[in-house]
């Protein structure tokens, strides 16, 4: 259970909501409305006032690296810090058999792990980052535009994997422009107002 209390992301009004395990909250809004900032704040990547609880523990009570092990943010443009993806996967902690299955589930093979990052397509990089974020079994996934760079076939695969994560009891927050994706996956949808609009409309809709 992820609970956000009076989170202040200027210029938005303070946000309070909760998302249970196995549930998906879609964060929608135009560019610049604060979707990314909201997800980053929950992962404690930016200093933001407010309280965020995961199963009763506030983020400030948990060492930050541990918090981000549980609450995993996946950026829209993933970062790479070595020549091939493999080194960014913390090899000692990864179960290779499982990793291979996870790669196959999103249409990739272990060979992709050893390709030059620069030679991978944007969509391949995005899916690799998605699989990378699943390592260590986080409780909460904060997905920033997970399908923005994907073709319809890959989108369907990733969507299915997000659904699988929900079945496994994980909490998913999804920042997206894709209303269809939000409608198919989300139990609750949070519409951030346009910048400079004051009212915030939280539309509770079920699939």
């Amino acid at each position: 259970m992820l609970r956000v209390e009076t989170l202040r992301i200027a210029p938005l009004p303070s946000l309070t909501f909760e998302v249970a395990g196995g549930e998906c909250l879609a964060v929608e809004g135009v560019s610049g409305s604060g979707k990314t900032r909201l997800l980053r704040a929950i992962a404690d990547l930016d200093p933001v006032a407010g309280l965020i609880f995961l199963d009763g523990a506030e983020r400030g009570e948990v060492p930050a690296p541990h918090w981000r092990g549980l609450v995993r943010y996946v950026a829209a443009e993933p970062g790479w810090w070595s020549d091939t993806p493999r080194a960014t996967f913390a090899p000692d902690r990864v179960d290779t058999g499982k990793l291979e299955r996870q790669l196959a589930n999103v249409g990739l093979t272990p060979l992709h792990l050893d390709r030059d990052i620069a030679l991978l397509s944007t969509g391949e990089r995005s899916r690799l980052a998605f699989v990378r974020a699943l390592q260590g079994e986080p409780n909460v996934l904060l997905l920033d535009e997970p399908t923005a760079s994907l073709d319809p076939a890959s989108t369907a695969l990733v969507e299915e994997q997000i659904r699988f994560q929900l079945f496994a009891g994980r909490t998913v927050l999804l920042a997206t422009h894709d209303a269809g994706l939000a409608q198919r996956l989300a139990h609750t949808r949070l519409m951030l107002p346009k910048p400079r609009e004051t009212a915030i409309a939280a539309e509770a809709g079920t699939r």
């Binding site: 404690d44 950026a75 970062g79 790479w80 960014t88």
Partner: protein, 272 residues
């Protein structure tokens, strides 16, 4: 061999070569005449003042005067490191770190040199301490400038990679280790290449000075080697200090990357 003092006339003769450069600037319309003139006059005034002040300090032999001169070096170092930075930290911490890292390392190395190696009495003897301190701090300063520049610009450029590591649960040291290592390497490069080519291309300045002043080349060499070792050691300390402080300042206790602590780049300074 004896030491030949130079007269103002000798300096005037040397200045003829500078006039030649000014003439070239005119001929090729480089527009540098003013800059050449100002730089030359600035150099004469600065060195003249420093020489006179040093003379006073040496004659007085007072500890207070030595400390005051060293303090002036510290201030100049802080100013120099900060002004050479493209992306610097906001607030006074920038000057504090820029001045303290090279100066502290230089001070430790030169006091060590004057008291333990040269064995001068007293240990703060300005005649030995101040020139050695100046040489060491000057080199450490160059190293620190490079470290800070490399770390701040790499952290800004590689923000996605650093935050990607943080998001996967890395500590700030893990997330910035590549940036830190690259910064330290860059900071140590000048002194390492200076040692590697010392004497091949040009004689180091201090050795040249001692030889011109009539010292035996072998004696001059031993002094130069000592200074090089001291510079390498002090630069190493200064570079590591500055690198660790920079990493600490670029992050916070919640292991976040805090690029907001860097001052915005001035648009007119971006590319020159």
């Amino acid at each position: 061999m004896t030491y030949v003092p130079l007269t103002p006339l000798d300096l005037g003769l040397a200045a003829l070569l500078l006039l030649l450069t000014g003439g070239l600037s005119l001929a090729f319309r480089l527009g540098l005449e003013r800059t050449i003139l100002i730089s030359a006059v600035r150099m004469c005034v600065q060195l003249g003042v420093v020489a006179l002040v040093l003379k006073l300090v040496f004659e007085s032999g007072s500890m207070l005067a030595t400390a005051a001169f060293a303090l002036m070096m510290l201030l100049a170092t802080a100013y120099e490191v900060v002004s050479r930075q493209e992306r610097r930290f906001q607030g006074p911490v920038s000057h504090l770190m820029g001045g303290a890292a090279p100066f502290m390392a230089g001070l430790v190395a030169s006091i060590f040199a004057v008291s333990a190696i040269i064995g001068a009495e007293p240990w703060w003897s300005p005649r030995y301490l101040l020139p050695i301190l100046g040489m060491i701090v000057g080199n450490a300063l160059a190293g620190v400038t490079l470290v800070l520049d490399t770390i701040t610009s790499a952290a800004s450029r590689e923000r996605a990679a650093i935050e990607g590591r943080l998001a996967l649960g890395a500590t700030r040291m893990d997330a910035l280790q590549d940036v830190l290592r690259r910064g330290l390497k860059t900071g140590l490069t000048p002194i390492l290449s200076a040692m590697a080519v010392a004497g091949l291309v040009s004689l180091p300045g201090m050795m040249t000075g001692q030889i011109l002043a009539g010292a035996d080349p072998v004696d001059a060499m031993t002094y130069q080697v000592m200074i090089m070792f001291l510079i390498a050691g002090a630069t190493g300390i200064a570079v590591v200090l500055a690198g660790l402080v920079a990493v600490a300042l670029l992050t916070d206790d919640r292991h976040r990357l805090r690029l907001d602590r860097l001052a915005p780049v001035k648009p007119n300074k971006q590319q020159s």
